[in-house]
């Protein structure tokens, strides 16, 4: 996938943050549009049609979550949230409203670029995409319902497989507990996070090289899980 000339809108009221993001993103081949506040951001999304939005939640003129809500009223453009530590509830709220992912300030650039790639990949993917996920020794082939580690078949229970399947279809993106519970168990089970804990635990035992230090199914404390991609 080429990142060239993908237009990114950066929404942040701090000029230093905008400057550093502009320099970094431009040098990675993105073209950058900037907005200082929510109103300007909404105008630019309608006007310049960016392909991805990096949105800070702490804006002076409008609540970032409200900006997100208005974007989602008419646009599916991928949105990455910039949030701060200890604001897990806010992150979950933004994700439930349709944000694609988040990074916590202060963040390192590699992390942000990885999130952006995952969000764009998900956006571009179509039915013809290769339904095979690879990370290290793990291979998941959704079309054949096949899971192998180092080429050896892994036997998963139906629930474990469902959890893995949902994670694979959103590889690289954070998924909230609520989302996973709804997708795997159904809407009535939202809130039963301990189901998720236990099945993710046993899933790790079967697919992680070192289950005590997970590298594939990553826990995002207070938010959910993320399937680590190889890139």
């Amino acid at each position: 996938m080429s990142d060239h000339n993908i237009k990114v809108l950066v929404v942040d009221d701090e000029p230093q943050i905008r400057r550093f993001l502009r320099v970094t993103l431009t040098s990675h081949g993105y073209s950058v549009v900037e907005a200082e506040g929510g109103a300007e951001a909404l105008r630019l999304i309608a006007g310049s049609r960016p392909e991805l939005v990096v949105l800070d939640l702490g804006l002076p003129d409008m609540d970032g979550v409200e900006v997100l809500r208005r974007i989602r009223e008419w646009s599916n453009v991928p949105v990455i949230i910039l949030s701060v530590r200890d604001a897990e509830r806010e992150k979950v709220e933004a994700l439930d409203l349709g944000a694609d992912d988040y990074v916590t300030k202060p963040f390192n650039t590699g992390e942000l670029l990885a999130r952006m790639r995952a969000a764009l990949r998900h956006q571009l993917r179509s039915q013809s995409d290769d339904p095979v996920f690879r990370n290290g020794s793990l291979l998941v082939d959704l079309a054949r319902r096949l899971v192998t580690v180092n080429g050896i078949d892994v036997r998963l229970t139906p629930t474990e497989y469902d959890v893995l399947r949902v994670l694979v279809t959103h590889a690289g993106r954070v998924l909230t507990h609520q989302y996973l519970l709804r997708e795997v168990w159904g809407a009535a089970y939202v809130g039963q996070t301990h189901y998720l804990r236990v099945f993710v635990g046993t899933l790790r035992q079967k697919i992680e090289p070192d289950p005590s230090r997970p590298r594939i199914v990553i826990t995002e404390p207070g938010v959910g899980y993320r399937l680590q991609t190889a890139d």
Partner: protein, 507 residues
Amino acid sequence: MRFHLDPFAGAPAPSASPVLRRTTAMQYLGAVVAVASSGLVAAFLRHGLALPNLSLVFLFAVLFTAVQWGLRASILASFLSVLVYDFLFVPPHYTFVISSPQDVLSLVVFLIVAVLTSNLTSRIRDQSYAAQQREARTAALYDLSRRIVGELDLDAIARSVAGEVERNVGSVTRLVLREYEGLRVVPRAGAPLAGAPIEGVSFDTDAWHTVALNSAGGDVGFLAIRREAGAELEGEQRRLVEAFADLAAIAIERARMAEAIERANLLSERERLQSLLLSSVSHDLRTPLASIIGSATSLLEGADTYSRQVRHDLVSTIRDEGERLNRFVGNLLDVTRLETGGLKLQREWIELADLVGTAAHAAGPRLARHDVIIDIDPGLPLLNVDFVLVEQVLVNVLDNAARYSAEGSTIGLRGTTLNGSIALTVEDEGVGIADSDVERVFDKFYRVLNADRRGAGTGLGLWICRAIMTLHGGAISAARAPGGVGTSILLRFPICDGGSDLGGEQP
């Protein structure tokens, strides 16, 4: 001055003490009854006894009256006795005429003896009465002093004193404290406005007696005692009230001093913490800032002359020190939130293994040069905790373990159940911890107090850990690792119900 005290705020005034009030009419009536009774007895005995002996019966009445009702009543009894004796028994009967000069003499002698007896007896009676009163006063004083001697609550002292005065004087009494803002009337316990200061106090000396409360440190207030029908506080009563007032003044002054000392201690403790915070903040902020600014200016000025490796080192320094600053600011925020109680736990069900794995991942770069061994018992109950906060606890503990032990040494994490709790032990092979310090490491700014600026700790980390663990109903403790080398940190979490129900399906 006007002084408004609502006498109905609280219970009605207690009735007067029976020892202190007695009407004279009752005393004289007593004397009459005593003499009349003697007359009846003498009439009954008149045929068996000689006339002079009958007078002894009357003498008994006089004596009895003197003991019971005092001098004036017994003098009355003496004269009444002479009249009755003369009228009933001295011939000629039923007249006051006395025929024999001998009878005149014996009547005169009787009168003299009766009056003398009255005098002596009533004096003894007064003395014994005074002794009784002294005893009652001493007992009341002792009782009051016993109740207020250890009391440090001003209002409780005031209520005890006012209650005691009311009981002894029989009038509504309030203690009025002279405070910084002005006078404050201490109401009765349970009064509608108990504890509320009455503002703009003035008082009416026609309606209230006032007795000043004077201590060595000056005037601390006064007792206000309602005047009952214009009666004055006199003699024994006034002395008693003044003794109560002295006692109250001493107790109030002592309570105020204790309060002042307490306040001073609190203030100096706060100042100590503030100066510690200031020195910690300035050190912990400036050190990384110095590295960052230094590295950045080096890069700006000498970018062309530095080798690739040097540039990389400088940039790495900027990143590492930035992260250190970030951790420190996070710690300061946590301390503030923990201290102001602004932290609300977002509890969720998590596996201990997940917690350990996530924390080890988060502390990753700083653990890279250590051998981390994780051993969690399978099948442990789930924890019901705030994942973000507890992860932070574990990251802090792992950070410390890495910081205070040599590169290449082992850090072991062991998860088990222990006495009905879920326990996680983190052991390193580092410098260890003195037995005398196992508690102090959890003190705020301990590192600063220790004057040990080694490493990059903030002196807040373990304090935060303990605060968070306590919020969860758990515990954290430190000890020398078994075997004597290194430190062992024990985290304990309560086992919560409800985390094991999996809706019938087993993984």
